[in-house]
């Protein structure tokens, strides 16, 4: 091999140093997840790739690699197809461990949301299968509100829509995680109000979540308290309407709707509010 001139050697060392500095640190799977929480999917992808290259049997790292591909930029049909391939392989190796069940969930998500041409029917079937096969698993619980959204916000005949409401209703007693309990109920309640103006069936679903303090997002809580109060008023449950309007004023005293809520409260129960 030819000897490098002193200047070239210096340049080579510089390039090597720059390359080393630019390479992702071998920091393992947790670092990849941390990058993904910040939506740095490309950095996460590099970290997961390094971990998988070091140990191809590392299933959590392979799950991370496939999930990160769903966010890698530029987003192309090719990256989504590659992610689907990885999830399929994870599932084929073991369909019953956490990574295998997670892979089934993300394959459904790809059909529903990530493909440039979604296949919603395939997603519905995949969610149903997941819920049937692993009802208590975290990913199956995650699938419940997704299934509700797909089934309820679809243009179908009234009879079919009612059949779908019944299907989601039958899922409710089997839900165990706080997120699934809350969101499946709220998706159903929202569809009943938006598409049917059905306060009677929506009300108990909303109040179950409010009364168990399951709602975290403040703008969501703001709307749900008003919705519960308005439904209660329309259903003749005056004391419940007063209680939800009061709770709204306690939680959102400076809200732009507060003055009108005080007026409504006055109409329901004069001098009922401070």
């Amino acid at each position: 091999m030819r000897e490098l001139a002193p200047g070239s050697r210096w340049l080579a060392w510089c390039l090597l140093a720059v390359t080393a500095a630019a390479a992702p640190p071998v920091a393992g799977v947790p670092a990849g997840w941390r990058e993904l929480t910040l939506l740095n999917a490309n950095a996460a992808h590099d970290l997961f790739s390094t971990a998988v290259a070091a140990d191809s049997s590392n299933r959590p790292a392979r799950l991370g690699l496939a999930v990160s591909l769903l966010g890698v930029q530029p987003r192309t049909d090719g990256t989504i197809a590659a992610a689907a391939e990885m999830f399929t392989a994870l599932r084929a190796e073991n369909a019953d461990d956490d990574e295998g069940i997670g892979a089934a969930y993300y394959l459904a998500r790809i059909q529903q949301l990530h493909r440039s041409t979604p296949d919603r029917q395939a997603a519905v079937e995949a969610y149903r299968a997941l819920l049937a096969a692993h009802p208590d698993n975290h990913y199956a619980q995650m699938a419940a509100p997704k299934l509700a959204v797909l089934l309820l916000y679809d243009d179908v005949a009234p009879d079919e829509w009612e059949r779908r409401v019944a299907e989601i209703g039958s899922l409710l007693p089997r839900l165990t995680t706080a997120e699934a309990v809350r969101d499946t109920r709220l998706v159903l309640a929202g569809a009943l109000i938006r598409l049917r103006r059905d306060h009677a069936r929506s009300y108990p679903l909303v109040t179950a979540c409010l009364d168990a303090n399951l709602v975290n997002r403040l703008p969501h809580l703001n709307t749900l308290l008003l919705q519960a109060a308005e439904s209660a008023r329309q259903l003749g449950k005056t004391s419940a309407a007063v209680a939800y309007y009061r709770r709204f004023l306690d939680d959102f005293p400076r809200d732009i709707k507060a003055d009108e809520v005080r007026r409504r409260l006055d109409a329901l129960a004069p001098r009922a509010h401070p």
């Binding site: 998500r109 969101d183 732009i256």
Partner: protein, 532 residues
Amino acid sequence: MIRARWFYRLGFLLLAAAFACGGWRLVKRTRPGRAGGPITLTFAHWQLEGTTRQAFDALARDYEKLHPDIRIEQLAIPLSVYSSWGTTHVVGGVAPDLVELGRNLGGRRILPYFLPITDEINRPNPYNAGTPLAGVAWRNTFVDGMEAAFDPQSFDCYGASVFANTFRIYYNADLLREITGQAEPPRTFEQFTDLCRQVRAFAARTGRPVLPFAGSRIEAPLLMDDLATGQLQRLTSRLNPGVYFPVGYGDFFLSYLNHEWTLDDPAMRSAIELIRRVGAEMPDNFMQYGRDDSLFYFVQGRALMMAGYAQDGTSISSQAPFPVRVFKNPAPRPQDREFGGNMVGPNAERLSSYGAFGIARASLHPQEALDFLQFLTSFAADQKFVRISGFLPVLVGIQATGLTRDFMPSSRGFPPGPYPVFLFTNTGQVIQRLEYLMIGPEADQAAFFAALKRELPGAMREEVSGGLRNLIQTLQLNDTAIEAVHQLQRADPANLSLQRKYQGMVETQNEQEATAYYTELRLRRAARLPLP
């Protein structure tokens, strides 16, 4: 030949010198402080109004006195280039330490370039020690709970703001007295239109070129939107049976496309009529004018009134050779015979902050930047900022002073209809483009409504579809972040902060997914209907 070569060399040397100089300035601006040497923190914003820069300078000097090892520099960037300037600097990794978020600088693609301060906002701001806000969690020291900087997708907070405003009508107090013989500004819409008539009569009688209102494409829509959204209170609440409060403009447009209301609705007719009447009190072709033009009209005494924000007050007062006062937009009230039927109450207002300062991930001094941000948003600093800049206070318990007092929002009344229907949306642009058929010599109401019926559906559909595309992209990105938080939480189940974040993110994702599919369903149904 030798001369030409000499010129080439000189050119090359000059280029090299310029490159070296630029590189040195860049390195100097961003390098960490030497041992014992000062650190320079830079913050960028687009608030060029009035005395805002002086207010920031005063606070920067106060901070430097407390921290002699830190120097503060502000970069005031014109609004017209802020978005592109900010995006290139932030994405390029050369952003200042603190950057004002907003004006298209934000959202899921930009926020990853900033550091979340979610944990910090739940602890007291140390600079509030010894004030009424001592010991209060930083987020709760804000009137709006730091809503402006909260990213609903990630459940993280990305900054803190010192900016809040409302708009009011400035008037020339001397001219008002000269025209009406009285000092009191109008309180009702009838009084307002009567005053406008008096101004025109005064101008005709005296030959002085005085107009009732100095309008421009910046301020006029503020006034018009306020009037119009009041008229939409009942209509847009009727479209929201779950809560009977006004829907947002996306739902408003979708319900139009699905034939749930028409342009012949009395509320819509009244909204347009109010816009027409107010527009007629402004200079011809006011939509061609900028903010400086209307300010010029006003301070020269050629218009009695102009609309503006609180922070405009200091520059208006300093340029006007007459006493300047303000009054609240005298929109119709429910008792109004002509326009009251569409309203539930006066438009309620709320004080909400905007334009939070985020800490750039590229900052070499994130801890110092956070400390300076806490200083800026402390009780004493906000008090001083409000006094010098004229902005409204964003912290609990701070009283506005001087002209700013009249800008404090009134929460009495009913929320206005969807905002900003007539300002920034495609639909608003259609209305603005057809303005010549509504106001002025070519005005023709029938032609205006015919054109509106023709053009609105397309603009509304585009508006809603664009929003839906953005939402779907956000949902796709969030899928990965939610899985990441789940995995971190599994590894650290006792971490309550991660637990809250996970629950909030999943809730947001499912709520927004339902909204996206509902929107898509309504768009599909609307596509099957004839045009409204």
